[in-house]
């Protein structure tokens, strides 16, 4: 029960940080945290295979593709949006 609450809180808070953080790369770090806590939740539901594929595909590939997308855009655009 305690473990579930901890993981659920971490997933929710990091999901909130994805939307709220000012630096866009920080939101990607929060997104990875969110995916990893969801994978841990899958393990708690004794669905190990889904958890492993979650880490392999989402943290290993999707997050990196998103990062690529961010880094191929101009930094100045992001900075002007911040203000």
């Amino acid at each position: 029960m305690f473990m579930f609450l901890f993981l659920a809180a971490s997933a929710l808070i990091s999901a909130l940080l994805v939307v709220r953080s000012r630096e866009i790369v920080h939101s990607v770090i929060a997104l990875a945290t969110c995916f990893i806590s969801i994978a841990a939740l899958y393990i708690m539901l004794s669905a190990e295979f889904v958890a492993i594929i979650q880490i392999l595909v989402y943290v290993g590939a999707v997050v990196v593709v998103i990062l690529f997308g961010i880094m191929l855009t101009k930094r100045e655009i992001m900075e002007s949006e911040k203000r």
Binding site: E23, V25, H26, V28, I29, A32, E48, F49, I52, I53, I55, L56, V59, G60, A61, V63, V64, V65, L67, F68, M71
Partner: protein, 375 residues
């Protein structure tokens, strides 16, 4: 007796030792305080607590073994590079044992350096990136099994972790993310280019690698170390899947970024790649971890293709595993010091246009073998 039962017994003995004092205090202290001590003693003695610490102890043992092997690997690397390039390599520090202590000296030198964070760096990413890199590599390491009895096990039964090989690859795949974050947050063009190159390389080489791994899983019908190695009882998989073996070896070299594919830290173009701004011991930790990834890669090659811990029973199984892993590492080093670095476009061409079709052909061969009922 396997490693889990050994660790469980050890932790149980230690807890009993402390608990004697604890319960004695609980009996002599008044009221609620005494009750607290008895409660804490009962909690410490519970099965869940002891098995948790037993697994932690197992991971610690595996990491210590890996670190010793990493020291050996760095030493072999330097010595053999010296021999191939016609010089001696390190020999002053630890003169009697062939300069083996040079690594420790370098480690101490890096350890006492100051940790400098560049002024315009992004603090969160800069401090977190290398930590994720090291942590994911250690997590991948902890799934490696030397034999059915020796590895991070969760019960007294010698089956190992279910889907252990897949877990190793899952944690192996986290690295590009951390590299990209570190490269970006250092706020330096060399680190950014290095990080982007490294992530592109790892992403494109992961696909053929996982296709080859899928063919091995298809033949063995299992995701765990014990199952994969047990399926190689009659014939090691590098004979039926020879193409896959070569593809996997190439992909592992590219994944751990050593010489023919070390574009991410090409010294001539990018100063030190994505690690340029890393200070002191963070760089040392990265260096150590990249060799540790080489060790994990060698162990995975041995498990998937070279029969794991199987061999004549003159030598114990764990030693067979290590001997094979060292041989794979020597082959990788041989490739490393006798090949030139490829360009980035050549690298991606090799990955997508050569290795990818070869991996698919290998998968077809595996399917054919399976449908003919040979495995």
């Amino acid at each position: 007796m396997n490693l889990y039962t050994f660790c469980y017994g050890l932790i149980h003995w230690l807890v009993d030792l402390v608990n004697n004092l604890w319960f004695w205090l609980g009996g002599h202290l008044p009221g609620a305080l005494g009750g607290f001590f008895t409660w804490a003693g009962d909690l410490a003695k519970s099965d869940l607590n002891i098995s948790f610490f037993a697994i932690l102890l197992e991971v610690l043992i595996m990491v210590i073994i890996a670190l010793i092997n990493v020291l050996n690997f760095i030493w072999i690397d330097r010595k053999w590079m010296g021999r191939m390039f016609d010089f001696y390599g390190p020999y002053y520090v630890g003169y009697r044992i062939g300069g083996w202590l040079q690594n420790l000296a370098d480690g101490i030198k890096l350890f006492v350096k100051e940790i400098i964070v560049p002024k315009k760096a992004d603090r969160l990413g800069f401090l977190l990136g290398p930590v994720i890199f090291v942590a994911s590599s250690v997590a991948a390491l902890s799934t490696i099994q030397f034999s059915p009895q020796f590895g991070v096990l969760t019960s007294g039964v010698d089956t190992g972790v279910p889907a252990g090989v897949l877990i190793a690859f899952a944690f192996f795949a986290i690295a590009p993310f951390s590299i990209l974050v570190t490269g970006w947050s250092s706020n330096n063009k060399f680190t950014l280019i290095g990080g982007l190159r490294s992530a592109a390389q790892m992403m494109s080489y992961e696909i053929p690698m996982l296709l080859v791994v899928a063919s091995v899983f298809l033949l063995s019908g299992s995701f765990s170390f014990v199952g994969v190695v047990g399926a190689q009882h009659s014939v090691w998989f590098f004979i039926p899947l020879f193409i896959g073996f070569l593809v996997f070896l190439t992909c592992i070299v590219a994944e751990v970024e050593i010489q023919p594919f070390d574009l991410a830290e090409a010294e001539a173009e990018l100063v030190e790649g994505w690690t340029t701004e890393l200070p002191g011991f963070r760089f040392g930790l990265f260096m150590m971890t990249s060799y540790m990834r080489g060790y994990i890669g060698g162990a995975l090659v041995v498990t998937l293709f070279l029969g794991g811990w199987q061999g004549p029973s003159l030598i114990p199984a764990e030693l067979w595993f290590l001997i094979k892993a060292y041989l794979v590492f020597l082959v990788i080093e041989w490739m490393r010091w006798s090949n030139m670095r490829v360009r980035i476009d050549q690298l991606l061409n090799i990955g997508w246009k050569r290795l990818m079709p070869l991996a698919v052909i290998n998968l077809l061969i595996a399917v054919a073998l399976k449908t003919m009922g040979w495995f």
